[in-house]
């Protein structure tokens, strides 16, 4: 087996991602309009929303990987599930950090118990539990199975969590709800580009991580043969 980035396609993707990361930054700083009230803080949204999107995507993949692992019993689905869980939780943490960074100047307080933030926090906590189960379980098929089940159960809970929190504090509906289609072109296209970059980054990192997990599985198998 060779290194992931020794492949031509991986090198190209990594290069494209690096370039477009800088391009998006440039566009965000120079080309997009300045919001009169929030000014520079509003631009966090070009990073905060795509992070949330990637986190949700990650958790969706964990659920599908879980179902596939339980039905097909192939180890590669477990690798996909773990890789997606790690990435989903990483970006979830980023949402929970960039949100308060934005909120501090705009709302005055970094945190509020409003639906989206609370739902994201709960999902984050559920996935901490997921990683603890992975960690404390032995290296076996059983741990993989119960992780798959946890990933599925966690995802099915999301709509219920969201609805309950939404109506729990009906007064705390502070989260901005920009209608993307009604934004001006500079905002819209920069946002779309950022979203695309984040999605591509997610896919690239996912493949990279799955490759490593496959490698690890192979090494573990060989370690106990010799």
């Amino acid at each position: 087996m060779e290194s992931f980035h020794s492949r031509q396609s991986s090198k190209v993707t990594a290069g494209i991602l690096a370039v477009f990361w800088v391009v998006v930054l440039y566009l965000v700083l120079n080309e997009t309009r300045i919001d009169p009230d929030q000014q520079m803080a509003q631009k966090i949204f070009y990073y905060h929303v795509p992070s949330a999107w990637v986190a949700g995507l990650g958790y969706l993949v964990v659920m599908f990987a879980g179902v596939l692992y339980l039905t097909k019993k192939d180890e590669k689905w477990d690798h996909l599930g773990l890789a997606a869980a790690e990435l989903g939780t990483l970006f979830c943490a980023l949402v929970l950090i960039t949100g308060p960074i934005w909120a501090k100047p705009i709302w005055g307080a970094p945190w509020s118990w409003e639906p989206r933030l609370t739902t994201v926090l709960i999902m984050f906590l559920i996935y901490i539990g997921y990683f603890m189960v992975r960690n404390f379980g032995d290296e076996g098929e059983r741990t993989r199975r119960i992780s798959a089940v946890l990933g599925i159960a966690a995802f099915f809970n999301v709509p219920i969590i969201y609805v309950s929190v939404k109506f729990w504090a009906a007064d705390a509906q502070l989260h901005p709800q920009p209608a993307m289609s009604q934004q001006s072109p500079d905002v819209f296209w920069t946002f779309m580009l950022s979203l695309l970059v984040f999605t591509l980054l997610f896919v690239h990192l996912l493949c990279f991580r799955v490759h490593i997990l496959k490698l690890r599985s192979k090494v573990l198998g060989m370690r106990y043969d010799v």
Binding site: M1, E2, S3, F4, W21, L25, L29, I34, Q38, Q39, M40, A41, K43, I44, Y47, H48, S51, L90, A93, L94, I97, T98, I101, W102, K104, P105, L201, L205, F208, R209, H211, I212, L215, R216, K218, V219, M222, R223, D225, V226
Partner: protein, 49 residues
């Protein structure tokens, strides 16, 4: 750059960039370790055979 709250934007951007780069670094290191071990195990195996 002279606009309000630039510090907050910078903080958010840096957090995201640093987090992603750290993650890439961590798994890259893990890949390197695994590859060296794989090579070592392969050479051991071929010596035994």
């Amino acid at each position: 750059m002279m606009y309000k709250y630039f510090g907050f934007f910078l903080a958010a951007f840096l957090v995201i960039s640093v987090a992603i780069c750290s993650w890439i670094y961590v798994i890259y290191q893990q890949e390197k370790e695994l590859l060296t071990e794989l090579i070592k195990l392969n050479t051991n195996k071929s010596e035994v055979e």
